[in-house]
Symmetry: C2
Subunit: 283 residues, 2 copies
Amino acid sequence: MKVLHKLHEIYAPLDFARREGKSIGLVPTMGALHQGHYSLVDESVAQCDLTVATIFVNPSQFGPKEDLSRYPRPLDQDLAGLAKAGTDYVFVPESTDIYPNGHSTWVEPPAVANPLEGEFRPGHYRGVATIVLKLFNLIPATVAYFGMKDYQQLLVIRRMVEDLNIPIRIQPCATIRETDGLAMSSRNRYLSPEDREKAKCLSRALQHVEELTNSGEGKIDFLESEMHRILEQAGATHVDYARIVDAETLESLSRFTTPSVALIAARIGNTRLIDNRVFWVMQ
Amino acid sequence: MKVLHKLHEIYAPLDFARREGKSIGLVPTMGALHQGHYSLVDESVAQCDLTVATIFVNPSQFGPKEDLSRYPRPLDQDLAGLAKAGTDYVFVPESTDIYPNGHSTWVEPPAVANPLEGEFRPGHYRGVATIVLKLFNLIPATVAYFGMKDYQQLLVIRRMVEDLNIPIRIQPCATIRETDGLAMSSRNRYLSPEDREKAKCLSRALQHVEELTNSGEGKIDFLESEMHRILEQAGATHVDYARIVDAETLESLSRFTTPSVALIAARIGNTRLIDNRVFWVMQ
């Protein structure tokens, strides 16, 4: 496994491989890798001739009061895990190379970036869209893997790729969960043992909505209030949102249809967690 | 020469050519081609294995009161000229394919887009940067040719390419002029015979500044007022700006240094014309 740090090092060998007709899978990450990330790497290794992972804690997607400085950076452990998973290249750029002095071009993300996370993390998807486009330009991959856990991010990137005609395929991958249902996240390590117990409430609330809809419940207001009830009863410190919206546009629904998606962002202690569930059920 | 209209038609043959190691030159245009455009094509044909021209009157770079609807579209004449010049591919997409329903991702252009044209044509460079990025993604070119006549555009694109790590080389090409000095422009055909005569004042004002600086004049205020004087005496209907600024950043200069650039935007009759001159002279 080759670990590259400089921007000019990464393009040429991969462009050469691509010219030889090799497929290249890209797994962009912020490090602090867990089984969710490794499931993306596994999928790429299974499908592509070469797999490239990137590790970059992207400052431009963090708000001024967010956890940029304390975001975990266990680089050696991540590199060991990636090597074991069969990764061919790991790109670990420096922030000063990604955002040099005078950098001032940004991606204005598509409309699907505006609700939900867009309201609670203004500027977040502008930072995400910009770094992802930069990585797509630095690394001539044929396919890029993104987890469904960051559902809105996946929609933002898919729409950006379509709108900007970027020649890459976006492959969504299923959310990986702990045995008790908690979606895997680099931020789970912030949770105290007590908060870790409480954190199950996100997946439980989504599970409850699924059960209600399976038994015929179709009132959005009621379903959303049920999610709030479960989150609050479990001791969530704050619920940013618990919504059921159109699975493609994330726009509000007047009644439950399919495909729709339930999305939650809630603070457990000081840790902000997100989760979601897509509904393909027929009413 | 192949003329392609559909977005999915253009990428594959050029990607194939590139895999074979061929260099591909791109000349993006809005049609209504003149010797300025053909000089870009000539340069590409001389330097590259394949030359691709695009013709697309990009609606998103026109303001609501600008000349989008009456912008000249002599397609047959353009195609004949491009064939004669040795162009290999011409890409003529439809507006509804470039901006389909729901398109909502844009490039927020770099800081160098803000002054001058940025003040008088708000949103112009957002439209330019977005369409140019889209064309760079649709057409896997190795080098793209842009005329120095649109000097600020060239800086915007160069900075965008750097900031977004786009794997393409930007080649600036000298402004081509009529024998009396008027910079060639698709908009020159709007000029009445009387206005055509007046239009010489832009290049004359720039020439005058060059002569003054060659003879040691270094006061920016004075040089700018001289440009205004020449433009107004010649009968320019309105001078949007006549500035001397840093040639890289387009920021104001307190005194004449090098490299700097003099830029003019002025209305002659109803036609808005621009021109510029870069100064490499030593003070």
